[in-house]
Symmetry: C2
Subunit: 120 residues, 2 copies
């Protein structure tokens, strides 16, 4: 049985056919977009209950509290839902780098002069 979400959130949210919704994590202080990951109802409930961003790992098929092994946790400041109910924004306090590569953010490559380059 899925964990309970706040009723008004549950009524507004639209998961995809696989029960997931994309979640953007943003550093609440700097405004940096840190990463995009996926959540299901249980991971949203776990995030709200624990105060730490918890995603659904599509590869490992299990809940994954960000930083559970690396220590690079994301303390939840605010959970937002978009107009259509099909995307989440997590405003967080990021400890250490957000990216498993060690980069501060996962979006460290950009198109420049016609090619994809590392920019940080």
């Amino acid at each position: 049985m899925p964990a309970e979400l706040p009723q008004s959130l549950a009524a507004a949210i639209r998961f995809d056919r696989t029960g997931l919704i994309p979640a953007v994590a943003q550093d609440h202080a700097s405004g940096e977009v840190l990463m995009l990951a996926w959540m299901n109802a249980d991971s949203i409930a776990a995030t709200l209950a624990s105060g730490f961003a918890t995603y659904w790992s599509r590869s490992r098929k299990r809940l994954w509290r960000k930083g559970e092994t690396s220590g690079h946790t994301q303390r939840l400041v605010e959970l937002r839902l978009d107009c259509d109910g099909d995307a989440i924004l997590l405003r967080v306090e990021q400890v250490g780098p957000a990216c498993h590569t060690g980069h501060r953010v996962c979006f460290f490559r950009a198109v420049r002069e016609g090619g994809l380059l590392e920019i940080s």
Copy 2:
């Protein structure tokens, strides 16, 4: 035939089974996360060629240049790709509100005191 992407981008990007990738639009000046939409190869190529954010509308099943009817365009400042190649960040100059509801950003609802509230 899909439009051509820069070779290094095409090699790194990982579309989902339906040929789409989620794209986060961020105001490059304020850092606000404006919205999340979807792109396919053609929409990425159109975005890079035109300099304006162009998405794939999943409901209308066609390319959709943001602001084509509302005038609320997004001039592309930078297109970034994440570490896994399965999410895009568009840093843009947003003209007018980003949201079709008239809100500045699509993420105008947040969980507060156990319920979902409009915060802007």
